[in-house]
């Protein structure tokens, strides 16, 4: 339990922890550690040494902020908060209070003569520091903040030292006597002015659960080994362990004898003795709130059964009565819940900016968190923050609105069991944030024991209701004739939300204890009960239930057996604070902005691409008289260094049927792929009809191509393939000449079959038909006759000739000489990526009257021919002799040879194309 208590009491110190990593918050990170001697206090001469750390900002002089730690903590537990303030530009001074950490002295519970005097001494020190902005001689500009124990110190300091310029106390008390001995039953109804006003009636019920946790945290029992470091992530020194190594007093620990005696008295009697009351009064800010002029930011937790919202309400009311600016802020957490989030850190920083550093003024808005109680996802509580214009009832700017809900339920009799056991469990004091929510779950099971609890329900709500503050109800308590009962009834009142199926949720997980003096004559005592202050959304369809119970585990309740008759007078008065919801949203801003950026980038990329394409389209100039195809210096080197095409240059003119001849691997297909825009040339240009050819060039629409085999969707029929292909070109269906193309393919009824079932030849014909769709101005066919039967090859030649005859151009590639010879009128011969011959087929086959003679004696024949008039360029090629006859008839040459005794086996035109080609193929064969 002690370890848990440590977590709890150091937790408030963490409330201002910045979400940023410590390094980021540290800023320059210059700190000065120093032990400061301060007077020990009245009645002692021995000074007390305080262990302090000064955090300096980048720029000095700067206003200072005292950062006080929570009960059970030390200066180490506020390290992050102090660093965050230093990073914000303040000089932050943290110290371990006397009796804690490495400071000496005893815990006097924020006594004016001890801890408060210590803080004043620290202000004196700040007055002498050049790093701190000074308002005047011995008057530093200084603020104070802290959680819980440190928060009360801030209030007490501000109330006793006018030099303090702003304070931000967090989850702290106004009246320690009321916090530990609360009594929510007022015989005279307190005014309905502020939302969470508590009754604060005298002679309360001992909050023994919390008091015990509180006391044990300062007792000095060494923490169990291994627990302290893990339990105090902020680096708190094991609490209460005397730094001198002297064994701690086992019963009083590091408390002063006075505090120790007061606790012992309270814990054993369960009642508030006058001496204890005086001691607690001394430690209560309410004694000094009337003198506080430093602007005050009050932060209180909504899950706090130790210092409830009524404590902050009282502070706010009393300080605001001086005309001092007060801002109230409630967050979803507290001593029973989690530490405050970054919003609170930010709010405290903003408050000090405004009141110490001349920053933007802060408006008096009243933000309060509304938790739905549901968890979305694994670890996110679903909640929102409602911001009201101000805290109602403080300055008169806005007044409190309330709603009255009828309560039904007749007089009910409840019993106090002897010894006060079993007792209802509604909260788990000291368990802290980790298990705090367990309390509300337990309360559903053990929150109301049979016979011990009376219930008064409102009607079913027809609209949602947001309870903001402390509801109140008028209660009558009477004796039951014939039943035993002590003079006073100790009862516990609470508000619950009950769903139609009976699920009960205790609002605020808190109960309000009451001690009511009940007349002995049987007449009822009438009291006004202020129920625990909450911020609780109540859904439409549910009802609110006021329960009155006789026991509660967390309090020292009645132990005498008793029976009480309890009834309500009138309805339940529910405070409401109208405000606007600021964050209903769980969308993290970073990723949300990121999404917008990503979408924006995508849109920008799209737009840029569109513009570039538009500009590209605009420069294309139509030149109808240009040659269908001009290739200049074309080269392609593939990755890996293989040069498939080297410096290819040729030209195709309108109406030509041009053959691109070459053995396999000559680079023909690479040229055709570049012509189709499928691969990019390494060098050189291709222009078709005067326009550059590249990937996706518009001029490609005037070129129909069939390269390296057919490409069809196998699951579609031949007809559908052609239809969809044409549709993909985006041109009107009327331009396609689909029927003619299908006739060219000559597939008959098979055209309706899936292409996957076609033979190679059928696909080939379909692909050629596809190339002819739309009657392109230039038709490019790569090995069109592969896989065709001889009659089909013959027909193909006819088709191509007719096609070109209409003024169009055909480019056919082939590795077969005969093919080119019979189909084409022009030919380009390629080998090893280069053009080796280029010209009309006739020129190349029989140009210039060259002749070839096959003879038995080539040498003699060459001599004979060379002697003939006009004949020149005689060359011997094995058994053949070539010669330019230059007008001499071939027959005359034969006669001359025969006359000279040379036998002529054959004589004919010299077939240079074949020669060239055979030579190439021959080399290829040798190469292999």
């Amino acid at each position: 339990m002690l370890a848990l208590a440590l977590v709890l009491f150091t937790a408030p110190a963490l409330i201002a922890a910045a979400p940023a990593p410590p390094d980021g918050a540290a800023g320059p990170g210059r700190t000065v550690e120093e032990r400061v001697a301060v007077p020990g206090g009245p009645g002692t001469d021995a000074p007390v040494e305080l262990d302090t750390t000064l955090y300096l900002p980048e720029v000095t002089p700067a206003p200072a902020v005292l950062v006080a730690h929570g009960f059970g903590g030390s200066k180490a537990s506020v390290d992050e908060d102090a660093r965050a303030l230093a990073a914000r530009g303040f000089v932050a001074l943290a110290w371990s209070a006397r009796g804690f950490g490495a400071s000496t002295g005893e815990i006097a519970l924020n006594s004016p003569d001890h801890e408060v005097a210590d803080a004043r001494a620290l202000v004196d020190r700040l007055a002498g520091m050049p790093e701190v902005t000074q308002d005047g001689p011995d008057d530093p500009r200084v603020g104070a903040t802290g959680g819980s124990y440190g928060g009360a110190l801030s209030l007490l300091l501000a109330g006793t030292d006018p030099r303090v310029d702003a304070i931000a106390p967090v989850i702290t008390w106004n009246d320690l006597g009321q916090a530990l001995f609360p009594n929510a039953a007022a015989t005279v109804a307190p005014p309905l002015d502020t939302p969470a006003r508590g009754a604060f009636a005298a002679d309360g019920v001992f909050k023994r659960g919390w008091a015990g946790v509180f006391f044990s945290a300062g007792l000095g029992t060494p923490a169990p080994a291994g627990v302290s470091s893990g339990a105090a992530p902020a680096g708190a020194v094991p609490t209460g362990v005397a730094p001198t190594g002297v064994a701690p007093d086992p019963t009083c620990g590091r408390f002063t004898a006075e505090v120790c005696a007061a606790y012992t008295d309270a814990a054993t009697t369960g009642r508030l003795s006058p001496a204890t009351a005086a001691l607690l009064e001394r430690s209560s800010p309410r004694t000094v709130t009337g003198r506080i002029t430093a602007p005050t930011l009050l932060v209180q937790g909504e899950q706090d059964t130790l210092f409830g919202l009524d404590q902050a309400d009282a502070n706010a009311r009393e300080i605001a009565a001086n005309g001092t600016p007060v801002q109230m802020r409630w967050y979803a957490g507290g001593h029973d819940g989690g530490a405050a989030g970054p919003e609170v850190t930010e709010a405290i920083g903003t408050w000090f900016d405004a009141h110490l550093a001349g920053g933007e003024p802060v408006d008096p808005a009243f933000p309060h968190a509304v938790e739905s109680g549901l968890r979305a996802g694994s670890n996110t509580t679903t909640g929102r923050t409602v911001v009201a214009a101000d805290y109602p009832g403080l300055t008169g700017a806005s007044t409190l609105t309330t709603r009255s809900l009828a309560l039904d339920g007749d007089r009910q009799v409840i019993a106090t069991p002897a010894g006060g056991s079993p007792a209802a469990i509604t909260s788990l004091p000291g368990v802290g944030a980790a298990l705090g929510s367990l309390g509300s779950r337990l309360s559903a099971v053990a929150g109301a024991l049979p016979g011990q609890s009376a219930r008064f329900a409102t009607p079913v709500l027809d609209a949602p209701l947001l309870v903001t503050g402390a509801p109140r109800v008028e209660l009558t308590v009477a004796r039951v004739p014939g039943q035993p009962a002590p003079a006073e009834a100790v009862l516990f009142a609470a508000t619950s939300e009950v769903t139609p199926d009976g699920t009960r949720t205790l609002l605020g997980s808190a109960v309000a204890p009451l001690r009511v003096a009940v007349p002995a004559d049987g007449t009822p005592a009438t009291v006004t009960v202020t129920l625990p202050g909450v911020v609780a959304p109540v859904e439409a369809g549910n009802r609110l239930v006021v329960s009155v119970a006789t026991t509660d585990q967390a309090y020292a309740g009645g132990t005498d057996p008793a029976a009480w008759a309890v009834a309500v007078n009138g309805g339940l008065t529910v405070p409401e604070v109208p405000g606007r919801t600021v964050t209903a949203n769980t969308v993290p801003p970073g990723p949300a902005v990121g999404i917008a950026v990503v979408l924006g980038l995508a849109l920008a990329a799209w737009g840029t691409g569109w513009l570039v394409r538009r500009r590209g389209a605009a420069v294309a100039v139509d030149r109808p008289d240009a040659d269908p195809l001009v290739i200049e210096g074309l080269a392609k080197t593939y990755r890996g260094g293989f040069s498939a095409v080297k410096g290819v240059t040729f030209r195709v003119r309108s109406g030509q049927v041009l053959g691109l001849l070459g053995p396999n691997g000559a680079g023909k297909t690479t040229v055709l792929r570049m012509l189709m825009g499928l691969i990019r040339p390494t060098a050189g240009t291709i222009t078709a009809f005067g326009q550059p050819v590249g990937p996706g060039a518009p001029v490609l629409a005037r070129i129909g191509a069939f390269v390296e085999g057919p490409g069809f969707l196998p699951h579609l029929s031949g007809a559908d393939n052609l239809r969809l292909y044409w549709a993909a070109t985006g041109r009107p269906a009327t331009e396609a000449h689909l029927d003619e193309a299908l006739e060219i393919a000559g597939l008959g009824p098979s055209v309706q079959r899936r292409v996957g079932t076609y033979s190679q030849g059928m696909r080939q014909r379909l692909a050629i038909a596809q190339a002819m769709l739309g009657l392109p101005d230039m038709l490019v066919l790569d090995e069109p006759t592969n896989g065709l039967d001889p009659p089909q090859i013959h027909a193909m030649r006819e088709v191509l000739r007719r096609y070109a005859a209409g003024g169009r151009t055909v480019l056919v590639s082939s590795h077969l000489l005969a093919e080119v010879e019979q189909t084409c009128d022009h030919v380009v011969v390629m080998h090893h990526g280069r053009v080796v011959a280029d010209g009309s087929v006739e020129d190349i086959i029989a140009g210039g009257g060259a002749a070839t003679f096959t003879v038995d004696a080539p040498t003699r024949a060459a001599t004979v021919l060379g002697d003939l008039d006009g004949v020149r360029a005689v060359e011997i090629d094995g058994a053949a002799v070539h010669a330019e006859l230059n007008g001499t008839p071939r027959a005359s040459a034969v006669r001359a040879l025969v006359t000279a005794g040379v036998d002529v086996a054959s004589a004919g035109p010299r077939r240079r194309l074949e020669d060239a080609f055979l030579q190439l193929v021959g080399e290829e064969t040798v190469g292999e």
Binding site: R375, A701, E735, P791
Partner: protein
């Protein structure tokens, strides 16, 4: 050739008729090439598309049969999704989506995107489309849009089918989440469909990766398998909690964030992060795909 009767005007006989005398080719408009409708028809008529849709539509029926055949086991102390699945139609749909989101739907998306270009390459039809010419960026865009439409449709067919099957089998009761919150059937159905939409957006990174692989390889199986493999590896890495914050950069880190939709108060945090993460991955991978396809030598 026996099935090809001789024709009057064909390559069979060598008579070509009026072909050569036709009018010149019309104008080309790049913005009209490969209309979405055409690409959609091309894809819809593929067997793999039909099978995929059939499978996602039939999956709920298969699940229902499995539940019906399963013997009643001993009552388990904790509620789980399988127990809840038979509670109502909406719960059944949630289960169906849960069961399929981490693998089946990944495969579906990877299939539609990974197959789209690579299969054209493997059929050699890609080069004819490009030479038509369809500009490369446009081809990729049209194919991505159609694949996205098909993926989204498949992702919605599954919960819709599950809602119908589940409602018939288990009634239209409230959607009850494992945390005990309940939503009305209509609300719950809406959330399930919203969840499916989130899954669709979340899988955009798979889509972009599959597209990148699709333009990088001629093997459709390689593209689809590669994308699915990447998803599995990411899911495995996500299991290694020791990676801590590094896991936030995994594209599958927030893949199940849509379950946040099953609460009355929706936490949009993880879903926002998931959408951001996925879209960022998708943008980078998609841009790579466009860049690569635009510069690639088409040798298929």
């Amino acid at each position: 050739m026996s099935d090809t009767p001789p024709q009057d005007r064909s390559t069979v006989t060598g008579t070509v008729g009026a072909l050569a005398a036709g009018p010149p080719a019309g104008t080309h408009r790049p913005g009209r090439t490969l209309p979405l409708r055409v690409e959609l028809v091309r894809q819809l008529r593929r067997r793999r598309t039909q099978v995929t849709f059939g499978l996602v539509a039939a999956l709920p029926v298969i699940l229902w049969i499995a539940f019906a055949l399963a013997p009643d086991g001993p009552p388990s102390s904790s509620l789980n999704l399988v127990d809840l699945a038979q509670g109502s139609g909406a719960n059944f749909a949630v289960f169906a989506l849960f069961a399929s989101a981490s693998f089946l739907l990944v495969v579906v998306v990877a299939l539609f995107f990974g197959d789209t270009v690579a299969s054209e390459a493997s059929w050699s039809s890609l080069r004819y489309l490009l030479a038509a010419p369809v500009p490369r960026a446009r081809l990729l865009r049209q194919k991505a849009v159609v694949a996205a439409a098909l993926s989204t449709a498949a992702l919605l067919v599954l919960p819709l089918s599950a809602l119908v099957v589940g409602s018939l089998a288990y009634g239209t009761g409230n959607l009850v989440s494992p945390t005990g919150e309940s939503l009305t059937f209509l609300d719950g159905a809406g959330r399930v469909l919203l969840g499916a939409l989130y899954v669709a957006v979340q899988l955009s990174w798979v889509a972009a990766l599959a597209l990148l692989l699709s333009v990088s390889t001629d093997a459709p199986l390689g593209a689809v398998g590669g994308a699915v493999m990447a998803s599995i590896v990411s899911q495995i890495l996500n299991q290694i909690t020791a990676l801590e914050d590094l896991r936030d950069y995994l594209p599958t880190r927030f893949s199940t964030a849509w379950s946040d939709l099953l609460a009355t108060a929706v936490d949009w945090g993880d879903m926002t992060r998931g959408v951001f993460s996925s879209l960022t991955w998708a943008l980078v991978l998609g841009a790579l795909a466009v860049w690569r396809f635009g510069r690639k030598d088409i040798t298929s």
